[in-house]
Symmetry: C2
Subunit: 445 residues, 2 copies
């Protein structure tokens, strides 16, 4: 543990948490009612939704703002304008992350870092990442309007390519900051272009990517507001989730080779159908993951057939497998079971099945003291909260490798995310931003 | 049966078949050795393979010459040049079929029609359709060099969009000739364009498509040389197949709707995964088709996942089902079994599964008298032959609705087709062209 971290945690322990709920107005310098501007936050979220908006043209039709795409570049420009309006000047680091700093009264202290991302999956929603990014700006704007200066400097961040649809590996900006890019990653090719060039598109400098690295002492702690993306809070009717930890994620690339052949003249027993094999693998993943108790999940989300014609037996299928659980050991064990089943399937279907481990995102536990601070911040404005794990990966898990980390969740209606139907009620968005503001104030004293 | 057809069949019955094998040199006016120019036929096939050739650039890398594509337009132009070199002038009919006529000594007689197609599936081979089309030209070229004129006029044809990868329904040119286009077919949209415009691209006139229609008396009989596309002849070591009939083909479009959602935050029991449902359907098709005796085949060849990202549960899958058998009733019954299984799968996976019948190609029996002629033509050059069904659909089945029909098969090495590995030995191509030539001579006396 670094010197700074140890000192910061000692400071946290000294915060009179028990008193916050009783005298919220004195604990963070704000009244016991919400002070962020929910109307402005909504306007900004609706504004951001224009970049990558789907063809049918409404907010509800969702957004395709894949990292490094034109829509991403345009959305980032919009976010940077909002930062300027909030009185802080954005800069883009070597990995393409957008950072902006607001001075504190003691600039010798490490800043409090908070933010999220604005890239989306294809056909995604308007809240995943966007809320945490624009709420961070809203916090700065609110402090400015109230002429409040924190003791610690504040630093907000919009991480690059969190979703990882482009180049098949997410948390790109925060991994660069944590020094966890993989060997040769900048040379990876996707859609005919190299990752290094994609990073240049968003203003980064891949040739000096190491400059994006943060040291363990470079921030006091990291906070991220995010939509839950699952249905736990919505079902329970609780507006604030306090994240206990983030699951580990393993991704695999599966390549199944059969033999492309005429769908009319090739007798059934002579076939080597790669799609039949892939169907068995997809079902096996589902069966293996659900065959033991726990919250682990497994998904075949991407699948491509070659040559993909109605009258040709599929000769080649490529698909992904993604496994998630708080226990990294458990998903490694589940992957072994999948490999074993795949060997049987390959024999039975006369195909070859190659399973390559393409990425591992190590989960992370949130700092217990910060969980307590978030609970108290919620209580200060009379919002019930609940502790819960995060089934989704977040940039916060990378920051957890460098310093204390905490995350705030707000409800996703119906638990729907990565979909145009993704929705968090505006009042819940405002509540989340308010809890973020108060957590920032409590942590930056 | 039309007057012409009845007369032609009466003529066929009068041909002294028994004598042909004994005195081949006198029966068709040619010596008992092969006379087509196999070297030239090979050169022409290699020439045609340049249009739509795959990126790696060799004949063996196959061809993507989808109907109406640029590659198709270029290949058609090449074929028309070959016709001109053989002394016949091509014309393009309203449906985009290429036709060219060689006069007979009695032009009051209906012509003998023969040919095939030159469009391919994506990543297809260099023999499917190409052989029958270019062998038809080779027959004309050979007759010209030998100064032979048949009694009946000859007409050769290159049918438009046989494979039907474009617009999802094949035999387009021959269906237009048989008056079997489906209601509204010219308005069908594929790849952002209408079928009418696609037909215009290849020189057709969709606004007067009915002009492409042939009447039952407009040709004496139809012949087509084709690669087998299955492995029967190759395994048996027999160079010539005499087709008994062509299977019926039904195609279905399946749309499976689940719910796109985050692959990390959606617990397994809450999922409505369209790809899991599709996997069960693909396996069900395979099981149902193989669960009873017979030569029927069933294929899920095309499948698309939406949104197709590693970290999103598939919300939508569209895929095809294709069923084939000589018995149209049998494949209708099998489709009913698939529908029934799909209902269970939909319930079990909390998805909706919609199965739409997108096309039916009625099979056809080859005319027995023409089968006998082909056998005799093969025997005239001492080539063993074997009667067999065709598991693939062919334009010949449309012509069978208008008049007598026969098909000649040559072996496909390893039974591989609709694949870059598709291969028919050059000597077998030459043999097929020779049998086509002799059948034409026997039938056009």
């Amino acid at each position: 543990m670094s010197q700074t971290r140890r000192e910061f945690l000692a400071f946290l322990s000294a915060v009179p948490l028990a008193s916050l709920g009783d005298r919220p107005d004195s604990a963070d310098g704000l009244p016991g009612t919400m002070v962020v501007n929910g109307e402005r936050l909504r306007r900004h979220l609706e504004g951001l939704s224009l970049f990558g908006r789907q063809a049918d043209g409404t907010f509800a039709s969702g957004v395709s703002r894949v990292g490094y795409s034109d829509a991403d570049v345009a959305g980032r420009s919009y976010a940077m304008d909002l930062m300027r309006q909030a009185g802080i000047e954005p800069r883009v680091d070597a990995a393409g992350n957008i950072l902006a700093r607001r001075p504190g009264t003691d600039d010798s202290l490490a800043p409090l870092l908070f933010g999220s991302h604005i890239d989306s999956v294809p056909n995604g929603g308007n809240f995943d990442g966007d809320l945490g990014s624009l709420a961070a700006i809203e916090v700065i704007q609110t402090l400015r309007e109230r002429n409040m200066t924190t003791r610690r400097p504040l630093e907000i961040v919009v991480w690059a390519n969190e979703e990882g649809f482009a180049f098949g590996n997410g948390l790109c900006g925060s991994r660069a900051a944590a020094g966890q890019l993989v060997e040769g990653e900048l040379d990876h090719v996707w859609n005919g272009g190299k990752k290094a060039d994609a990073i240049r598109r968003i203003g980064g400098h891949p040739d000096r990517i190491s400059e994006a690295r943060r040291t363990p002492g470079s921030f006091a702690c990291y906070l991220e507001l995010h939509i839950e993306q699952g249905g736990t809070l919505d079902r329970a009717g609780i507006p604030i989730g306090v994240v206990e930890g983030i699951v580990s994620i393993d991704r695999y690339e599966v390549t199944i080779r059969g033999m492309a052949n005429h769908a009319g003249t090739t007798p059934m027993p002579d076939r080597r159908d790669a799609l039949i094999a892939a169907s068995h693998v997809a079902i096996a993943v589902n069966e293996i993951v659900t065959s033991e108790p726990g919250r682990q999940v497994g998904t075949v989300g991407q699948l491509v057939v070659v040559p993909n014609a109605p009258n040709v037996i599929p000769g080649l299928v490529r698909h992904t497998i993604e496994l998630r659980d708080l226990s990294a050991d458990k998903i490694r064990r589940l992957a072994d079971l999948v490999r074993s089943r795949a060997r049987d399937i390959a024999t039975r279907t006369k195909t070859t099945i190659e399973i390559t481990h393409s990425s591992h995102h190590e989960g992370a536990m949130a700092t217990p003291e910060i969980q307590a601070i978030i609970e108290k911040a919620a209580a200060a404005v009379s919002l019930p909260s609940q502790r819960m794990p995060s089934g989704a990966g977040h940039d916060a898990q990378m920051m957890a490798t460098l310093g204390p980390m905490g995350m705030i969740f707000v409800p996703s209606v119906g638990g729907i995310s990565h979909s145009p139907q993704e929705l968090s009620r505006w009042e819940d968005c405002t509540r989340g931003a308010e809890v973020l503001l108060r957590s920032v104030l409590l942590l930056s004293r």
